[in-house]
Amino acid sequence: MQISAAQIDDLKTERKDIMAPLPRVMRLVPILFYGSLAFLVVIGSVSSLRAKFAGDRRNAVLRQVEDWKAQIVASKKERAALEAQISEAVDLEDWVLASMPLQPLVVAIIRSMNPQSSIVDLTIERDAETPSQLRIGLRLNSDSDKQLEQTLEVIRRMNYREFNPTQTRIRGDLDYKASLLWQDPNSERQTPEERSAGKGGA
């Protein structure tokens, strides 16, 4: 059975349009939506790539940083060990430079005596605080002052310089006291072999 169009129209109930149309500007909303999706895809991809490259770069640099840090620590350790070695070496060198042999000086002083003179007493003492300095006390039995001059000349030839000398006569004996400074003990660093062989110094 066919129903005519007029009859169908008749079946529709009469009603008002229930939703008011949206303003025309709202047509932009879907455009903006698609635009935002495109923005998300483009910016997301670019940012992800950028983040990946930056992350790789950061990780590589951080590995290098760790390597540098380890090398700095190793270098500092090596420097500390060297400084300890130097400090010990300075201590040993201080001793070596302040422990020059005295026998050559004593022998030279004794040999400087003329037959008419004799040594009553000879004392050579190392200064406790400045061991490269010596204190000499020499009591001579001699008629003339020339003997002392002769002995001092010998001492000077042994690279010692006297200072603060005092000279007195006690019951005919000449009493001479002075400090002796080994001239420039740093100028020559003797090896143990050279010292044993009696080279340099006193």
Binding site: M19, R58, E88, D91, V120, I124, S196
Partner: protein
């Protein structure tokens, strides 16, 4: 609010969410970039520090080369004496071997200072005070020989005066032997 408006609102929220999401991606990338830049700056600074550290070390090595090679020759002589007993025995044996008339022997241990500064590596001195009365040449040769065979030992004091017999000398000798600081046993 009608369904159309609700639909628009939902789409607008979607737009805002998409933009925010995109911006957060960008922010994250920028943060990683900043971290990478900071790491590069730190790496540069560390590299400079390492160069300076290596430079200092090289300078120190160059400056101390002569000193260390000098002291290296002396090291074996210091290495052997770490105990007072060893120093005492060494000296008293030499005194006995010489067969000289030895009037007294006294040993003491004293702190070692040079120019009022403590010597850390050689903190203690064994000081032997020996008194002899013997022939002039025997005494002088003996103490000269001691200075040769024990190059790390030094004479702290020597005092010579007339001995008990004609040509003899009375010699008071103070020998000082530095004791090396004992290294911790590993």
């Amino acid at each position: 609010m009608n369904p159309k408006q609700i639909g628009v609102l939902i789409v607008v929220i979607g737009i805002i969410a998409a933009v925010q999401f995109g911006m957060s991606f960008q922010g994250k990338a920028r943060d990683i970039d900043i971290q990478a830049e900071a790491a590069i700056a730190e790496e540069k600074s560390l590299h400079t520090q390492l160069d300076a550290e290596r430079g200092t070390l090289a300078d120190l090595q160059r400056q101390s080369k002569e000193l260390l090679s000098f002291v290296a020759k002396w090291q074996p002589y210091y290495a052997v004496i770490e105990e007072k007993q060893a120093a005492e025995t060494g000296i008293s044996m030499k005194v006995r071997e010489a067969g000289m008339l030895n009037l007294s022997q006294r040993y003491q241990q004293v702190p070692h200072k040079i120019n009022n500064k403590e010597n850390v590596s050689l903190p203690v001195l064994v000081r032997a005070t020996l008194v002899f009365d013997d022939n002039y040449s025997t005494l002088l040769n003996w103490f000269g020989n001691m200075e040769k065979i024990k190059p790390t030992m030094r004479i702290g004091k020597i005092s010579l005066s007339k001995g008990s017999r004609g040509e003899d000398l009375r010699m008071e000798l103070v020998l000082e032997v530095p004791l090396r600081k004992a290294k911790p046993k590993t």
